[in-house]
């Protein structure tokens, strides 16, 4: 599984070939530099560490400076490991959007937008309790019963309740690549992608 690190730019839309209106997400992807090659002998598993997005040298720790110097590159903001890369790469190699082609089906991983503390209706899609008539009030978005009574006289583990929502790692599978603009390192994919504008994404092939 090959991949690249990207950054969400935003969404737009256009008219496709058959006149259909296609919503799409613009992702700035790469160029990524291979900053470490992990091998079975040395690390116990095979992986490539990729680095993306420029970072100022004064914001980089000395340890990381040496790490980037080994790959003969400038300091980068985001480092992500990719297991079982299809092609073998060497330290310092650059991976660009050329990895993908128009019409490819890809997976995109992102961190969803944080929604804060939310009730069960938004968080788990509950329907709420009852209606607003027949003497009911103040419980239109309530979770309802949490379980049975004296047996088991406790709440079952994993009971879906209110709480922090969003901010999770979300992988969207089988997204179509609509267009690639290589000179600006842009991938345009069909539909939406998890995360806020400017957040980092992992694009897997």
């Amino acid at each position: 599984m090959s991949g690249i690190i990207g950054k969400k730019i935003g969404m737009t839309s256009f008219f496709g070939a058959n006149g259909k209106y296609i919503p799409c997400t613009v992702i700035e992807a790469g160029p990524c530099v291979v900053t470490q090659v992990k091998t079975n002998d040395k690390d116990g598993y095979e992986a490539l560490q990729l680095a993306f997005d420029e970072k100022k040298e004064k914001h980089t720790s000395n340890a990381m400076k040496v790490h980037f110097e080994k790959a003969k590159t400038t300091p980068k903001r985001k480092l992500i490991e990719f297991r079982s890369f299809e092609e073998s790469k060497n330290l310092g190699d650059v991976i660009t959007v050329d990895l993908f082609a128009e019409g490819d089906i890809i997976d995109v991983v992102g961190t969803s937008k944080g929604k804060g503390f939310q009730g069960v209706v938004k968080r788990h899609g509950f329907g709420g309790v009852g209606g607003s008539t027949h003497g009911q009030h103040d419980r239109q978005r309530a979770p309802g019963s949490l379980g049975a009574s004296s047996d088991p006289s406790r709440v079952m583990k994993g009971m879906r309740m209110a709480g922090r929502t969003g901010g999770n790692r979300v992988k969207l599978q089988n997204i179509e690549v609509v267009k690639i603009i290589a000179e600006k390192n842009l991938i345009i994919v069909k539909g939406s992608v998890a995360g806020a504008k400017g957040s980092y994404l992992i694009i897997e092939k």
């Binding site: 730019i9 935003g10 737009t12 839309s13 256009f14 008219f15 799409c24 267009k179 600006k184």
Partner: protein, 121 residues
């Protein structure tokens, strides 16, 4: 909006070759309609009551009175189904969105016409 997104919008949405028109103008939109394999062109003429100018979702709304009933149709500017747009009249109006026309009928719903000197063109 970010510069990159502007760039992508230019790449994805080529500029439509419509004549310039604004709210208050009377236009005829020639719209392609697909019926099975056949394609025919339908005309929709009326007053442009608004234009929306977002790079990817630009649209204009045309209003006409059909059999005594007001009909409004929204056309995306970049739609490939628009064959052409004809400007029939140039109107003189004092605002960009003419929603007040919805309340008016008959004589009061008229729009002052700008006399275009054809010789000068």
């Amino acid at each position: 909006m970010s510069l990159l997104l502007d760039f992508v919008n230019q790449q994805l949405n080529p500029q439509a070759n419509h004549p310039s028109f604004k709210a208050g103008d009377t236009v005829t939109v020639h719209y392609k309609i697909k019926e099975g394999d056949k394609e025919r062109i339908q005309q929709f003429s009326g007053v442009v009551i608004m234009r929306k100018n977002h790079p990817s979702t630009a649209s204009f709304t045309v209003r006409k009175i059909s059999n005594g009933v007001g009909v409004e149709r929204i056309f995306p500017v970049g739609s490939p189904f628009i064959d052409k747009v004809e400007v029939n009249k140039v109107g003189i109006v004092r605002r960009a969105k003419l929603f007040y026309l919805r309340e008016l009928t008959g004589k009061s719903a008229r729009i002052r016409e700008k006399i275009v000197n054809k010789k000068a063109q």
